[in-house]
């Protein structure tokens, strides 16, 4: 702040509080709805303070079901599936990107830049635009309704490779020289020097990719037909607009809460790494 202007400071707080209210209100309302019974929620206006049916609703959703027909399945499995696929995607992306960047930065070999551009191209091909053929590939490989099918097609990452490349470029050459004089080969150099130095980058990428993986909707929607492989976000989307029946809102909102709590916790707990990482990744 350059000048002290009490009125402007007051105005800033007022605007921020208003913005905050707009942003938090839908989430608050979802939480409130998830703590009331069906009759209370379906008789407008619904109360704006939490009710007493919280545990009942959440256990119904987790161990019973929140919808009708094929969607009426216990969601504890979906929660587990989302966790597995989000972790798989985040860790997979980081693992294959860090070694790819290591190869591109620290080795000289034919077709190096060709491979680099090949990875770069993935930036331009979001899953939504190549959905049908990708589905066919996964079907042909027998990966429909598998954890492999949920994760592997999404783990190629240009952004992660770029970020690691950028970071490795900033590591002083003397590090490698010193390591070589001490007799370290590529493996030792990678494990004992690069990996520990990359800790912050890895943490930032983990948050971003975990959320990316958890929040996938279209991909799990088309490649899973069995309820054992449903993911939370996909279930929420389908429950909200199912053709068969009107949503059972108090249970749908409990499901929505469960679908957003894990990524929100990850963002909150790792807020600092996340914010720095996000701005850095895109720079």
């Amino acid at each position: 702040m350059v000048q002290n202007r009490p009125f402007l400071t007051f105005l800033s707080h007022a605007i921020l509080l208003l913005g905050l209210a707009i942003i938090v209100f839908p989430i608050w309302l979802a939480f409130v709805a998830s703590t009331h019974d069906a009759a209370t929620v379906s008789a407008p206006p619904m109360p704006l303070l939490p009710g007493s049916h919280m545990w009942e609703n959440y256990s119904t959703v987790l161990f019973g079901g929140a919808g009708k027909g094929t969607l009426n399945v216990p969601l504890i499995q979906a929660l587990l599936n989302s966790t597995i696929s989000a972790l798989g995607i985040a860790i997979g992306k980081i693992a294959i990107s860090i070694i790819a960047a290591f190869a591109i930065v620290y080795f000289r070999f034919p077709f190096r830049m060709f491979f680099f551009w090949m990875i770069f191209i993935t930036l331009m091909l979001p899953v939504e635009v190549r959905i049908l053929p990708t589905y066919k590939v996964v079907a042909d490989l027998g990966m429909l309704d598998t954890y492999g099918g949920l994760t592997i097609p999404l783990i190629a990452s240009a952004t992660a490779t770029f970020l690691f490349r950028q970071f490795f470029m900033s590591v002083p050459d003397e590090m490698l020289e010193a390591a070589r004089i001490d007799g370290a080969g590529p493996y030792r150099f990678f494990k004992d020097i690069l990996l520990p130095l990359s800790r912050n980058t890895i943490a930032a990428l983990f948050v971003i990719q975990f959320i990316y993986g958890w929040n996938q909707f279209l991909w799990p929607l088309i490649i899973t037909t069995k309820e054992e492989f449903y993911t939370m976000v996909m279930v929420v989307g389908r429950l909200t607009n199912s053709v068969e029946a009107a949503p059972i809102w108090h249970l749908v909102m409990a499901t929505a809460m469960l679908a957003m709590i894990p990524p929100v916790i990850v963002v909150m707990v790792m807020q600092r790494q996340f914010v720095r990482g996000l701005v850095e990744v895109e720079k």
């Binding site: 800033s12 905050l20 942003i23 190869a103 620290y106 070999f109 050459d173 909200t240």
Partner: protein, 293 residues
Amino acid sequence: MEKRVTLGNPVLPYMLLAPQIIVTLVFFIWPAVQTVIYSTQVQDAFGTRTKFVWFENFSRLLSDANYYSSAQTTFFFAILVTGVGMSFSLLLAVMADRIIRGASLYKTFLIWPYAVAPAVAGSLWAFLFSPSVGVAAYALDKLGFNWNYLTNANQAFFLIVLAAIWNQISYNFLFFLAGLQSVPRSLIEAAAIDGAGPVRRFWTIIFPLLSPTTFFLMVVNIIAAFFNTFGTVAAITQGGPAKATEILVYKVFNDGFRGQDVGGSAAQSVILMTIVILLTVIQFRFIERKVHY
């Protein structure tokens, strides 16, 4: 920029690159090539025979009124989500940059929506505005406004715009805040000493210096509005009522998976791919410029 010192090993780099390259080839490049091939073919009703038809799918698409209205919806959608979302986020970021007390608290809550999936965001807003039970719908009704987004096309469009903006706020906010914090304080102080008030300082110094961030966010928001909002649309309207909210990426899915029109859907994908490639190239040209500052 290249490393002076490197590790010599003829085989190892290929092994290190292999996982990434295999995934890229199998799940990205091969399907993309297939998309281009499909876009030049028609399949019969059983999907058993295909015929090469040159650009017939494209010409069919470009003479289809539905496609134009979908494209139009998408452009309006992208413009609104980008314009309104960025303005609102910039306002919040400028305010958060000004204050000292409580800044981190505001920030903590403002980044929540980033973690919420587009489909879940769609669900929250659909509930809020549900004609039968929604709190906002109830309030609108009390104000004498006839609200039913399930039958009214404009209302449905308004709702997906709102949900999409809400989802993008955190991202815009964080980038604007980072941009604002990198504006040199000395410039602002000098302007203040010369007698420029806060509004004038914003428009003549801060806003121009923010232009790289603004431009970058514009591209990101357009891409997000084109693609990431699939989940939002699927959860709230499924493209309805009467295709009023069928944005391009939803149409690709709908025609390909529901309508079984493989060629037409692939032709749409090719057009969308061209749009992403153009946007990505624009973005990278700009980033290169930024590096030369």
